[in-house]
Amino acid sequence: MDNKTCNILFCGIGGQGVLKASEICGWAAIFDGYHVKKSEVHGMSQRGGSVESHLRFGNKVFSPLITAGCVDYLVSFHQDENTRMKKLLKSDGVDLVEYLGKAQAQIQDPKHLNTFLIGVLSTFLSIKEASWIKAIEKVFPGKLLSQNKEVFFKGRRMIKI
């Protein structure tokens, strides 16, 4: 277990599955024994507005919001939102936007974008594979589970660990 708090920012547009992505990541961190805080605002943003979800995990997390300039990983679901949010990255933070195009090319259903990007993100984090699987099982009920597991591994395998 890493001592440092890990800061991940997910961004996109209402309806893209941004909140579900941070939900999976949050559960995975819980399964790995971390203290987790995740912050977002529901409501009007559902109507096609910008959506951002902050996820932080570590030994003890105070603020649910990541301080501007302290984002370790930026996971973007939309190019425009990436342009807006990348100024919040730490100087050595990782912008996963380079995988957005590849992800969109590889998935058949746009609903799978979140799980695919989580697959990509998973290779950068010190969370056990078993915890990711448990998290996906937690978040996706019944019928959706097997295809989402498949999509997760597609994303995960795209990055060489």
Binding site: F31, H35, V36, S39, V41, H42, F62, T67, G69
Partner: protein
Amino acid sequence: MATNRVKDKIFLSGNEALAHGAWEVGLKVACAYPGTPSTEILETLAKFPEVDVQWSVNEKVAFEVALGAAIGGVRSLFACKHVGLNVAMDPLMTAAYTGIGAGFVVVVCDDPGMFSSQNEQDTRWVSIYAKLPMFEPSSPAEARQMVKQAFKISEQFDTPVLLRMTTRISHTKEDITIDTRSVPVQPPFQLNIQKYVMVPGNAYQRHILLEKKLQKLKTYSENSKFNCIEIADKKIGFITSSITYNYLKEQFPQASYLKLGFVYPFCDDKIRKFAKSVKKIYVVEELDPFLEEHVKTLGIKCFAKDPSFRIGELRPEFMSDIVNGKAKVEKKPDIRKPRMCSNCPHLFTFATLKKLDAIVAGDIGCYTLASLPPISALHSCVCMGAGVTFNEGLRKAFPSGKIVGVVGDSTFIHSGITGLINAVYNKAKGIIFILDNSTTAMTGGQHHPATGFTIRNKPTKKLVLEDLCRSCGADYVAVVDPKDRKKFEEIVKQRINADALSVIIARHPCPLINR
């Protein structure tokens, strides 16, 4: 069980954690009207079969049903957003006098930054004004702990207890360990005219007791573990509460803190003690100078944020500017704004109103988004129900104007109906459009009396809006599908020049709702 349990940890939002905590201590009755950011509290409670849960018609009704249950002897809860509490202020103010039978907690969720609200009032002032104790959690885990304590105190001091959340705490998720449910023994219901009939003579006696109660609650506040002193570096001491505590802890981990979780009545002795133990005191809080002004009345020299930071939500990156006494730098928001869905039936209604150049008195709901360009066809929005009453008011100032009012179906039932009766009684004219998408769409699609289903999706008696409007005495009532544009426009054109009060129910279900 209503939760996804992982061994002993679950991932809950502040609203969900609060609901769980209330359930754990034997909550029996919960009432609310939906309102962001508070909605999920009742939605979570609705998953527990042991709790009698309802969407009420409005906040005043919800408060009264819940208070009645508490006076009757079962633990009960009322939840609302900040502006919702305004609607329930009438019973709230006098509930402080009557007290309760079993625990009664009033949860209010403020919305600093106005993610989905018409103002950013700071409800902490209500604790002073209504003479009620108030908790203020800083995290979802604390929301759960505090609601449990709030029920205890409510019974110990015979008082409703306020629990104030903010959007950031309501919608933050955290891993939380929950407990099983235990229900306290129900006290026998006692008729008590002196306590529950607030006529002047009785109320005077209750006011005497209330003032004594506040003194006892002050002693409680001094000893509460939720008002916590953390001494570290004595050069800087922060007095703070709510989410701001977390932002400060990130930026100034070495400083000393007085974290206030039981904010009212104030723990003056503890505040003085803390002030003496550190060199320099900073009071940092979101929105109004609630703590700051009180600390200053104690004669304590303290530094507080520049007034420009009273506006909007605080963020962790603001902390150093606040401490350095700088003013807030206003940035132009660059976010993608919400808009009406492309297949929204309201779009058709507003297309017609725009074409006819109508002045549109608006209300609270998805359709408020019709004020944004390129539609720009909604011209006022103040509070629930004002779509109906502003039609009447504007016409008094501007009798020849082409004025109409619009109100949603849920909003009409909440507080539009009284405005309609007023318009009929006082012979107002014009058209009131009920934009009926057959749900409470803005907050995520909750049922209301005219959907014919309860919060748990069970069938109930259905309110028929057209019958209701006819019996109020409207001169003309029609139900039209706004997507049938030709017919819709024809009717509107015909009615807009009529010397009459018309109600046009523009009915087409919200496409986001699948039932």
